[in-house]
Amino acid sequence: MEWIIFLPIIKTLFNIAITIIPIRILIEFIEEYKLIEKIEKHTHFMTNWFEITTKSLIPMISGWILGMFAGSSVLADYHFDKKITQDETNKVMSIWMFAHGLIDETALYVILGANMFWILGVRIFFAIFAVKALIILSKKGFNITI
């Protein structure tokens, strides 16, 4: 077996390392300086669109940036402490179905050559419009609670 077949693997692992390191440092700064809480004040368009309160934004954005597993621990705090309603929790989960871990997950495919705009664009499209469609259908009486 030619050892040269492992060369693309080593090159890709190097690319993954140089992508993950700055992303993780950025996420650390976001958490340390509570930037998500600061963004919350400027996001009325999101709360109006998804018909949620500003309290739901923190778990929602946490899931977008940190991913499902980390975001769910934030959501658990808000959900089980009754800071948000079950309806808001359902909406956050509906949004997360399509869009979570947007930075990490997109970066892994982009490193391999995928088109970032397709990967991010489609997920954000579904998170914004498909979830809004689910909200409208729920209000019209269709039983599609998540």
């Binding site: 693997i9 390191i21 440092i25 340390e32 300086y33 499902m68 179905m97 391999l112 050559g113 498909a130």
Partner: protein, 141 residues
């Protein structure tokens, strides 16, 4: 303030190394396994078998492993398979979109279960949306 910035930076750096090692623990064995299997006829056999199904999404049979690994195991497993098999960029994008819409479906559905009794709907919706988007992307990308 300077101390806070440097502390945060180094904490982020340490966490990034931990994350990279976690990613490495998943990617390396899967990639090596697939590279070794690729030297045998098994991967080619599975790819040929699944070629008709993958062609629905404009993908080759080789894309089956990264797609299903991504949907059921996770994004990292999917990328490990892509590294080992070397897909064309168009197919990596389609797989990336489909897996982005529906990844780690088993583990993440169990997370949804913590918050809602209708958690099973999330799995069905995600799989359907991923497959239909993949089908549409075939004509666009």
């Amino acid at each position: 303030m300077y101390k806070r910035i440097t502390t945060t930076f180094w904490r982020g750096f340490r966490n990034s190394i931990k994350t990279f090692l976690k990613v490495l623990k998943i990617i390396l064995p899967i990639t090596l396994l697939i590279v070794l299997l690729n030297q045998t006829p098994y991967i080619k056999y599975i790819s040929t078998l699944l070629e008709p199904i993958m062609s629905i999404f404009g993908l080759s049979g080789n894309a089956a492993l990264p797609l299903f690994l991504g949907m059921f195991a996770g994004v990292t497993d999917s990328t490990a398979a892509i590294i080992a098999l070397g897909l064309p960029i168009r197919e990596i994008t389609i797989v990336g979109v489909m897996v982005g819409l529906c990844n780690s479906v088993i583990a993440e559905t169990l997370i949804f279960k913590k918050f809602s009794r209708h958690y099973w709907k999330t799995a069905i919706i995600r799989i359907l949306v991923a497959f239909s988007t993949g089908f549409l992307l075939k004509f666009v990308i």
